[in-house]
């Protein structure tokens, strides 16, 4: 039996519980308030995650008990040319999208931070694509770049022969990249702008007293001050790009001939079209490891680079 000591005062607030039973009892309200989230977390996230890793060692489909295949799925995955194509496509896509999404919105935000006319209109215009879903954005750009679509008409008016666009592997990928950057410009611009507006005026004043033009002030004062945010934009841009699915699914269905298929799309095909749950789980596990690795590397670079 633990001996407890009542602290002075009748409110029942103790500064330190003196036994484990005491601790648990004091925790009760917290557990009750926390339980909805915890229960859902276990059912919908923790358990399925472990189940996914477990499933990746099996050959599993509907209406049949799963058969254990050990590392079979992973061996098949890492010797599958289609997998490497999907990986290559995803990385290629991610590289250029991240480049576009990190740099151009920063330039836009720097411009928007100045005292210019029509800023509110510009902000509305830039954010319009952001409020649309990826499905909508992908459909719009599919229609624009259709064989007989507006872009080909303009191209022909300019005297150039009509382009294959989605039938051409290179062009198709660039259209996907452009669609993605187009939609996200406003989103990242708003984030940069909020950060830029936190840069104190005195820093600019100090620089101008030293003779710096506005351009130099921006480059040497504003940009370094928002380095953490640049870093943050880089992070979410990388992570979301890796999860590419909707744009190729809607616009090209991974084609032509797998030229635009992404890793998540490969997962979708194997798991939900061909109903190969084990193999699909192997791809999902790979994606999980990849993204966790990216997040950890990111954090390490962050700690090194951002003061």
């Amino acid at each position: 039996m633990a001996v407890t000591v009542e602290s002075v005062g009748t409110s029942g607030l103790r500064s330190r519980p003196t036994s484990f039973g005491e601790t648990l009892r004091k925790s009760q309200p917290a557990y009750i308030l926390l339980s909805p989230y915890l229960i859902l977390f276990v059912v919908v996230l923790a358990y399925p995650l472990l189940y996914a890793i477990y499933l990746s060692f099996f050959d599993a489909t509907l209406n049949r008990p799963p058969t254990f295949v050990g590392a079979g799925n992973f061996i098949q995955l890492f010797t599958d040319a289609e997998f490497y194509t999907a990986l290559r496509n995803t990385f290629f896509f991610a590289f250029f999208v991240v480049l576009g999404e990190t740099i151009l919105p920063l330039a836009m935000a720097l411009a928007m931070n100045e005292r210019l006319p029509f800023r509110a209109l510009f902000r509305t215009a830039f954010f319009l694509p952001v409020v649309c879903s990826w499905v909508v954005v992908s459909l719009i750009w599919s229609l624009l770049f259709a064989q007989q679509g507006l872009v080909n008409s303009v191209v022909q008016v300019l005297g150039v022969s009509p382009q294959p666009f989605f039938s051409n592997p290179g062009q198709a990928m660039w259209i996907l990249i452009a669609t993605t950057v187009w939609r996200n410009l406003g989103y990242y611009m708003v984030i940069y702008l909020a950060a830029l507006q936190g840069v104190p005026q005195d820093l600019y004043d100090a620089a101008s007293v030293d003779g710096a033009t506005r351009w130099r002030q921006l480059w040497h004062v504003a940009v370094p001050m928002v380095r953490p945010v640049i870093y943050f934009v880089l992070t979410i841009s990388i992570i979301t790009s890796m999860q590419l699915f909707i744009q190729p699914f809607i616009m090209t269905n991974g084609g032509p001939l797998n030229a635009t298929i992404s890793v998540v799309q490969l997962l979708y095909r194997h798991a939900f079209v061909q109903l190969e749950f084990g193999y699909g789980s192997a791809i999902a596990t790979f994606l999980l490891v990849l993204l966790v690795a990216v997040a950890l590397v990111n954090k390490r670079v962050h700690d090194l680079v951002v003061r």
């Binding site: 996914a52 100045e114 409020v131 410009l185 033009t213 994606l287």
Partner: protein, 280 residues
Amino acid sequence: MGDVLAIRSLRSIDRLLLVLFLLLLAVVAVFPFYWLAIGSVMPPAELFASVPRLWPSEPDLSPYRRIFDLVPLGRYFANSVIVSGTTTVVAVLVASAAGYCFARLTFFGQGVLFALILGALMVPSQATMVPLFVMFANWNLLNSYPGIILPGVVSAFGVFMMTQFFKALPAELREAAIVDGANEYRIFAGIYLPLARPAVATLSLFVFMGTWDQLLWPMIVAPAPDMRTLQVGLAFIRQQAPITNQVMAAIVVSVIPVVIAFLLTQKQFIAGIAAGAVKE
């Protein structure tokens, strides 16, 4: 200091160049919507004319009527509203309760649990979709609202955000209430939660828009025609309505509510969508 001011600010020509730069990008951002709107009322012959037209010769609203005959857009829309609305309400309530616990209460295992939840932020949603599909198939949840809603109700980001917010509120409120004899649940629901209105609003918008825009999970778990959400319906629309101006009409109808909501509440809308970054 006249000289310094002249150096410090931009010259007019620079200002003009910046405005032109922004204007060019703004046109690129907005033009596809304009084309969508006019295209939805133009016949295909005009739409695909070799010399592009920027204005319909005779606006024709029939694609709008036709698309509702071909495709149950109203049903898709209703499904999206039900799914997104329910997910938002549940997710925000659950995350707020959890956030309050981590912020204002002390309990056994607090650190470990919080670390676990933060770890969940690194897990991509696609990683759990295969097992969730198998589980929901076994529990008869396929093609049902709970099936679509359940995975979306767990928001690690929501917990994180509400924890930060509740931490910023004074602890004295709770201590005073305890002295007055209130129990923990009443303190949460009656004192702290009402104070959390701005955070709740921001998180709600964030969750709602995230769920509204989703394609992969709703498509996997509820592909049946009467259970499709708007995004799933749109993903398959070209199979059911091959004529371009009809597809455009469907897109316009889908986008209008969101655009109107955005135009009416721009500041809050932008804050909600960019919520992930608002931890400066």
